[in-house]
Symmetry: C2
Subunit: 342 residues, 2 copies
């Protein structure tokens, strides 16, 4: 109809309200009444108003985009975190774009630059296993670009973090095995890498100590914690002829590898060996027996990370005090750890 | 050292070459020799040259960003496709950003706009289950923005597509079950939704016909094809007291649901009922018995989609002829379908 594009001023004129009220209504500002929002959206539709988001973004310096960097998209944990971020962000008319670092620090830096070139308003990051340089994040902080770290975090950057209490997760898993009567509990971990494994290990040690079970260092197996590593460690364990009645693997993947080797060798799970993993990956309910594991509430973690992001955004002009949000994990008890008759 | 930022002109001056050669070398242009590239990269490092990608992008109208829209990131298939795209894109100094539509058409449109606001050079899309409007993609085509559809595609948009031969996948799965001696083969599908299921169903029908096995419509169960749907369909199947000796499920998730119910009811897999899924999700090798399935070569699909994207980009000034790339699927035979003694 109209050869000229409708603007917010046209909408304002038709409704006899100010352009800034129209703008706020279109941006779903909570201070605008639902009735006004409805009227504005209706008129915007009638006038075939097309918001020029790019122009608006350049004007406001806001793209309404949040960038997320994860080590790998191909983990149910991370894709659920992304879902949680979206749930909060979409309600505020923000969109989420994701990029993966593939656990490589150079890639992580390139990915961060790509997101900045995409003019995201801020970045949510779970850092790579091998990331030992943090200048790119410190630089971000200096430029006043909101940054939130989640799950795999560091204290070196001085920004808000969202983590689960991995120590508690390790403690709950180990304590559960002890309550099932297990005394020789093997632990699969990777202490050279990210903090999360160290915390789970600390939980394991504390639960042993609190229950007067002597710690046997030879029962701790370190690896990259993938499925194949779980297989290899369990093969070594069986070949060593050490006595053990449980395995607490700090990764579900390594736990499934352990399950495969135990079954192949006629070791009954949970009767001979009780087994607990960590992360509540979806496949843990498909295994036979189903795998006891620790839920990290990834959707809630994503929601909390998004909330931290918006807090930083709001506080931009004021003093910003970094926050650390610690979520409580939950032990999901399934068949792999329930010894019969106990 | 230098208070002024080094530019490509400074590098050019030091090496006594043209600025455009420096630019090409930095962009890894194949027409520049490796020796020149090495010299340029060395001098760039010495002068602490920081490429201003954003400025470069605005100048060239290129962001070196590819946007991908998937229905959901939380599927191994899609995250592997993304990996394949990255493999090709990163070599050409392109970065990949991803957004999910969550199977909702309004969300899909908002996601597309977000990627365009992020100034991607083009978009690779696997369309949502319920997407029945394609104007947003047609609009993209009219604006000359490269678009490639993969896996879940449509012929309505007239651009390049990368798919696997779902018909062949369905045929191979069904033929395999027939060769194992199965004659009453149940099929789990969803014919109301995306084309891929219709094609797998067509493969099922053709394999039955080619092997003179009468088609029994009452053995076809339709659902949303999630794990819970596989459970429900199998419960209905068992309650119906129909005779069947195999299930070909067009989704791995529904196949795992079937496996759970069969086992809970004392039906032996594969002895009593042989079972085949579709997609080769990682968990299919963790189940007990491990699940026979069809690999869709997602990494290769991502590579092919990226290659199609760069072909469109190159051809932008010339006439562009949409291509359809059809990849061949492969049957992965595991324990769930191998009847003993056959």
């Amino acid at each position: 109809m109209a050869s000229k594009k409708a603007t917010i001023h046209d909408i304002a004129k038709e409704l006899n309200i100010t352009a800034s009220t129209v703008s706020r209504a279109l941006n779903n500002n909570p201070r605008i009444s639902e009735a006004t929002k409805k009227a504005v959206l209706g008129m915007a539709k009638d006038l075939n108003y097309q918001p020029n988001n790019l122009a608006a973004a350049l004007r406001k310096g806001k793209s309404q985009l949040i960038g997320i960097i994860v080590p790998t998209i191909n983990r149910s944990f991370f894709s659920s975190v992304i879902r949680g971020v979206e749930e909060v962000a979409n309600k505020l008319n923000y969109r989420v774009i994701v990029s993966q670092s593939n656990e490589d620090v150079d890639n992580e830096i390139a990915t961060l630059n790509a997101l900045l070139n995409a003019r995201v308003d801020g970045v949510l990051v779970s850092i790579g296993k091998n990331t030992d340089r943090f200048e790119h994040y410190k630089d971000l902080m200096e430029r006043g670009i909101p940054l939130v770290l989640f799950d795999r975090t560091t204290n070196e950057v001085g920004t808000s973090q969202v983590v689960i209490d991995d120590y508690l997760g390790g403690y709950l898993a180990t304590e559960h095995l002890i309550k099932q009567g297990c005394k020789k509990i093997v632990h699969f971990t990777n202490l050279k890498q990210v903090n999360i494994y160290k915390e789970r290990y600390r939980g394991y040690l504390e639960a042993l100590r609190d229950n007067d079970i002597p710690f046997d260092e030879s029962l701790v197996y370190q690896s990259d914690m993938q499925l194949v590593d779980g297989r290899n460690c369990t093969e070594q364990l069986l070949a060593s002829h050490k006595k053990f009645d449980a395995i607490f693997s700090a990764s579900d993947y390594a736990a499934v590898g352990a399950l495969q080797i135990l079954k192949e060798n006629g070791v009954k799970v949970p009767e001979d060996v009780a087994l607990v993993g960590f992360s509540n990956e979806p496949f843990t309910s498909f295994t036979d027996p189903s795998l006891t594991t620790v839920s990290q509430f990834p959707i809630e973690m994503g929601q909390a990370a998004a909330e931290s992001f918006f807090e930083i955004l709001e506080a931009k002009k004021k003093k910003f005090i970094p926050q650390k949000t610690v979520l409580q994990p939950e032990l999901i008890i399934r068949d792999s750890s329930l010894k019969s008759g106990k």
